[in-house]
Symmetry: C2
Subunit: 317 residues, 2 copies
Amino acid sequence: MVAAKYTIHRNHCHHTWDKTHAPVLTVAPNESITFDVTDASAGQVTQTSTSDVFAAYDSGRVNPVIGPVFVDGAQPGDILCVRILSYAPSGWGWTANIPGFGLLADDFPEAALHHWNYDPTGSAPLLYGENARIPLAPFAGTIGVAPAAPGPHDVIPPRHVGGNMDIRDLIAGSALYLPVEVEGALLSIGDTHAAQGDGEVCGTALESPMRVTATLDLIKDRPLAMPRLDCPPRPAVTAPASPRNRRVWITSGIGPDLHDAARASVRGMIDLLAQERGLPAIDAYMLCSVAGDLKISQIVDAPNWTVTFHMPQSIFA
Amino acid sequence: MVAAKYTIHRNHCHHTWDKTHAPVLTVAPNESITFDVTDASAGQVTQTSTSDVFAAYDSGRVNPVIGPVFVDGAQPGDILCVRILSYAPSGWGWTANIPGFGLLADDFPEAALHHWNYDPTGSAPLLYGENARIPLAPFAGTIGVAPAAPGPHDVIPPRHVGGNMDIRDLIAGSALYLPVEVEGALLSIGDTHAAQGDGEVCGTALESPMRVTATLDLIKDRPLAMPRLDCPPRPAVTAPASPRNRRVWITSGIGPDLHDAARASVRGMIDLLAQERGLPAIDAYMLCSVAGDLKISQIVDAPNWTVTFHMPQSIFA
């Protein structure tokens, strides 16, 4: 854990993006800040929760973000460069199927909750019961700045100024470039994940409180349409790399609608994991969300596109 | 190159999927067959072509597939397992922007053509002029069986019985599982690529004639909704793996439509490659198609999804 000049505690959070939110900290460029990030349920899910927690879930409190931070000199038209120095995961997290939420919400109407108690150093894989072992790969699902448009703006959907992008590549050592739209940029961070696959298909990742340390730098007068990143390679899988267990299962969804094709590819993987690993469908669905990857194999052979879902077999080794 | 029991020459090709096409070969399960695959232009693009070739391009001849092969005992409701034993690339190929085709067809109305002359053994990287070096990673873009529905069916779009899926993971050592819909399955192969990124965004990959050797096996009475694969890990990049050049650039497209978001992410990468590498836009676009990857980072934070485009910096090392 890198020692930071400033720390922002988890009670300094907000639940909407809004340029009128008062900054909780003002910094010069390039100073280090630790954000003490709570989990995406804002503490509603605890280490003793069961899936019953979602019966009285307050969705107005979810996905709190820590901040905002005012960066001296940041002006509309600049780029804010967020350099991630370190993540300090807490060692506990959860993955859930929350009714009405997720890519296959219609297929899985019942709430489900899985707890993860894991080695926060990453020296041991994270155990999905006896079913799978996945590598620790922490990142912040939500990093964003205030939009210029008058708010409040819902914190769940991401936008061109970032927010809940859930780009799992944003590991320590990454740089994230965001367009600045208001004076001071007003940056906030939340929704930390100990692991996630591309797609976050069940709607939750490995949701885990952790401390995030970053610096904020400016590139003056450089308009940017959408967020951009520069990332180190993702950590290798922790299982022994025999040729057998480095293979990958891939299921496809083929058709004229990318969303429907994505659904078909994930349904295909849930079927495959039932056949090959005996996993109950709900457990396979949540495993897909933390350890599998959603890709677009081709988007040019009109009118049908190929979406694929990828599962590394190493997690079963 | 594995010696196969049978060879099907490139003149045994067809341009539609149709269950009435007469088989060019009948085999027992598990026998090896070499398919001598021409390039996706069916020989219209030659080693001396310029981009003028697309002015008189006959799109009715494109993407020919070699076959069909009748597999003894294959019945509707079975799975056909295609095991790829080897690819023997030819050492020449092309990548093009064909007007009216590709994810950013509106942005790039002019024809462009890049020739690749490469080491077919893969011991040297493939040179994109002086701009980049990419690894050889051959696969067949099109593998499919005849649909039960009366034809003819266009060979360009893929379907639930496979076809032009363009899944770049289908490298040697892979198994592809396809649903059988007609007696004998009627399998054909075409559209070989020496390299391609996820998305094949400009509409063409590194289109390259090559010989494909495979066996065809049956799993009886196992319905399958969509194609499924079991693949070895993709070849590592050929550049030296210093921490610096193992990083990846990522651009994002965020919004309520996956297709629009995909376009935004590719436009972002074209802008980035202009800024970071001085690449002209059309060259960056074609490089994205052969060496970059289109992924869905999240598809659950309604109403906005995050599509990302990934470019490994190793290709510039």
